[in-house]
């Protein structure tokens, strides 16, 4: 019985650790936004300098290719840095601190339950859901931007070599569809996780009301 209680408690605390991680996603969205905006500022500054130099400085022919290459590395670098930052913050969340307490057996498990702040847990789950959705949208938008830039370069090459004109709206739509298809597994995982978080919230509300009514005696 004690072993069963401990294993159920471990499962529950692991789920709460997962919620903590998802909650951190929302907190790290400011960092994500700052890095993405910084990337846009860097790309626009680079464009301004390139455009000014193309008018006021007689650039050596052949120099433009490495400059264009450099320009198109800014976006992937920014997006990779933003995603990396979010992952780092999720990784830095302290988890499993309850394990030593749980090793004490049933008494430890009950003590652990009594120490939980239920309202904080419920609000954490709600924030986790928002963070999960926002990060999903931000990631799709960032990869959409990246794919669009890549396809614009490709369409420029196609236009100059095959003398075909490509509609920019078609390029944008095509890149969006491509990103959605490529991230379909991620979207499905997020959708499933939303359902699990909802389920966890309802189960915990029920458990909390039962737990409050229970009378534990040592």
């Amino acid at each position: 019985m004690e072993a069963k209680l401990s294993s159920k408690m471990a499962e529950f605390m692991t789920a709460l650790d997962q919620v903590k991680k998802y909650r951190e996603i929302l907190a790290s969205m400011t960092d994500f936004t700052i890095i993405i905006l910084g990337t846009i500022v860097a790309a626009l500054s680079f464009t301004s300098v390139m455009r000014l130099s193309s008018i006021f400085i007689i650039a050596e022919r052949g120099q433009s290719t490495p400059l264009i290459f450099l320009f198109f590395t800014i976006f992937p670098a920014g997006i990779i840095a933003a995603v990396w930052r979010v992952k780092q913050r999720i990784k830095s969340v302290r988890i499993g601190e309850w394990k030593t307490k749980l090793n004490e057996g049933a008494a430890g498990a009950i003590e652990l339950l009594q120490s939980l702040n239920w309202e904080t847990i419920f609000s954490d789950i709600r924030y986790a859901k928002v963070g999960f959705i926002l990060y999903g949208i931000a990631k799709i938008l960032a990869f959409w931007g990246l794919t669009s830039v890549f396809l614009f370069v490709l369409s420029g090459v196609v236009e100059s070599t095959l003398h075909m004109s490509i509609d920019y709206i078609v390029v944008m739509l095509f890149s969006l569809v491509t990103v959605l298809i490529l991230s379909r597994n991620d979207l499905r995982k997020r959708y499933d996780q939303m359902g699990r978080l909802d389920w966890l919230l309802w189960e915990l509300r029920w458990f909390e009301s039962e737990f409050r009514g229970a009378n534990f005696e040592a």
Partner: protein
């Protein structure tokens, strides 16, 4: 009475300061992006190409308040072509791919949209012609740089441009040269109105 540890209050204070700083940073970056986009909107570009034979002209024009740089690729087909510039200088081109750059500096101030908002069009042939099949110099505040390749030019080509009484001379700059012979011409131009 609930006792909140001082460390927790300090943490809350610290984290809210950090978040506020980050929000200000996001705001500052957004303002910078808006400023950059506005600055980039003052850049303009133009492109034209054409096949010329006989005596033709390349006409580069811009609003006086803009800087412009044009790159002209002249690709001759069979025989050499001769370029004649405004001051009478002649240059014979024998190589198959010849590239020249023209920089037109800013020579006047932006007089406001009231003056430059209207679309200025004029035929390179003569401003008094009521009808002309030649391409037109087409300038506006949204398109302050323009390039044209004009085939089979008449002898009085751009004669009006030297006229100090011509009303558009105070708003536009025109640079042109003639080409004698057969060639393909590609012109890319970029300008900035700052």
């Amino acid at each position: 009475m609930i006792l909140i540890p001082d460390e927790f209050l300090l943490y809350l204070q610290f984290s809210s300061v950090v978040v506020m700083k980050k929000i200000w940073l996001i705001f500052a970056l957004t303002v910078i992006i808006v400023a950059q986009v506005t600055f980039l909107s003052s850049f303009h570009s133009t492109f034209t190409h054409g096949y010329v034979s006989d005596t033709s002209a390349v006409v580069l024009s811009k609003m006086k308040y803009a800087y412009a740089r044009f790159t002209i690729h002249i690709s001759i087909t069979y025989s050499p072509v001769t370029l004649t510039f405004l001051n009478g200088t002649q240059q014979e081109i024998t190589e198959s791919g010849y590239v020249m750059e023209v920089f037109l500096p800013r020579t006047g101030d932006f007089m406001g949209n009231f003056v430059t908002g209207t679309h200025l069009t004029t035929t390179p042939n003569s401003p008094t012609d009521s009808f002309d099949s030649l391409p037109q110099i087409s300038l506006s505040s949204k398109h302050p740089v323009d390039a044209d390749v004009v085939q089979s030019i008449p002898s009085n080509f751009l004669a009006w441009y030297g006229d100090p009484n011509y009303e558009r001379n105070d708003r536009i700059d025109v640079f042109w040269f003639t080409i004698q012979g057969e060639a393909n011409i590609f012109i890319t131009g970029s300008g900035v109105a700052i």
